[in-house]
Amino acid sequence: MLDIKKFVLGWKQKKGLPVDDEIETTGYGVLDEDGVWIGDPKPIKKESRYNFIQKCSYADTPSKLGNVNFLPVVETTYNTTYLNNTRENGYSILIIKRSLNPNLTLKSLLLKNRRTGEYITISSRHVNVQYGGPPVKYPEDEWELIQEIEGYARDRSFEQNWGAYIIPKTIKLGDRVYIEDLIEDIVAGAFWGSVSPAVDAEAIWNGSTLEIDHSAFDRFEKIG
């Protein structure tokens, strides 16, 4: 594992800073006294911090980051023959067991108006309104539940519940890499009732695993 203290000491010496100054460390880098990130590699967010406004009912188009930072590419395979060949050729292999992400589950209701016979699909019986105002309600005495609809935002067969990353021989501890075909199910973003799964990612190689940096998906949002 990367020795953060040694990293910070080296960084301070490189910047000509007094070595007895205290600087907050985060991830694999440092923050200056104003809270501005300085240094390389970039800070890493190990978990998605997206705050959902409401339960998602449908899947948005998967969001692709692209290798915009021209990072080393981690190859993905789901084939044991190819896996064994690369292993025999001296590559490090990282087996990933896929697990479902609750934040990618989709739920909605098929309701029928008891008076008019109108059918609607809605996320829940209490729906938040985008442009203000109280939630719209669909009470049981007015709307009959016909069916609870369930789905999953990532379009991939559940039979494919494992994969393997092939670690490039050229990367070293702490390097940032690009995963072109993401095995894990994670949220790239969401907007109201729609959620977008990630199909690729950036990650840090920590010597034994690839730690996905969720901050890469911040580029789908702008603050300022």
Binding site: V36, N51, D60, G132, D218, K222, I223
Partner: protein, 88 residues
């Protein structure tokens, strides 16, 4: 009718420039505290960050015309915003 974002500049439907999206601290939505009425508060400068997820296009334009220094939180999945290339 959409607001066009070209690089970090926002333009209204008539092509009038409204604002340059710029945060000196390079903050992301996850770095913000939840504030009142669905908006956010910046942990560093303590300013209100207006959450455009809850705003109409007219409300956004009106805010930026009258308060051009307002900070916004913009989800690029919001159909109100259209990301344009330099050639557009």
């Amino acid at each position: 009718m959409t607001l066009k974002i070209r690089n970090d500049d926002i333009y209204d439907k008539n092509g009038n420039w409204l604002k340059t999206i710029s945060c000196p601290k390079k903050l992301a939505r996850g770095d913000l505290d939840e504030g009142a009425e669905g908006n956010f508060t910046c942990q560093i400068c303590e300013r209100t960050i207006h959450n455009t997820d809850f705003m109409t296009e007219e409300q956004i334009v009106d805010l930026l015309v009258h308060y051009p220094d307002s900070c916004l939180s913009i989800n690029l999945r919001n159909p109100i915003f259209q990301t344009a290339n330099l050639e557009d």
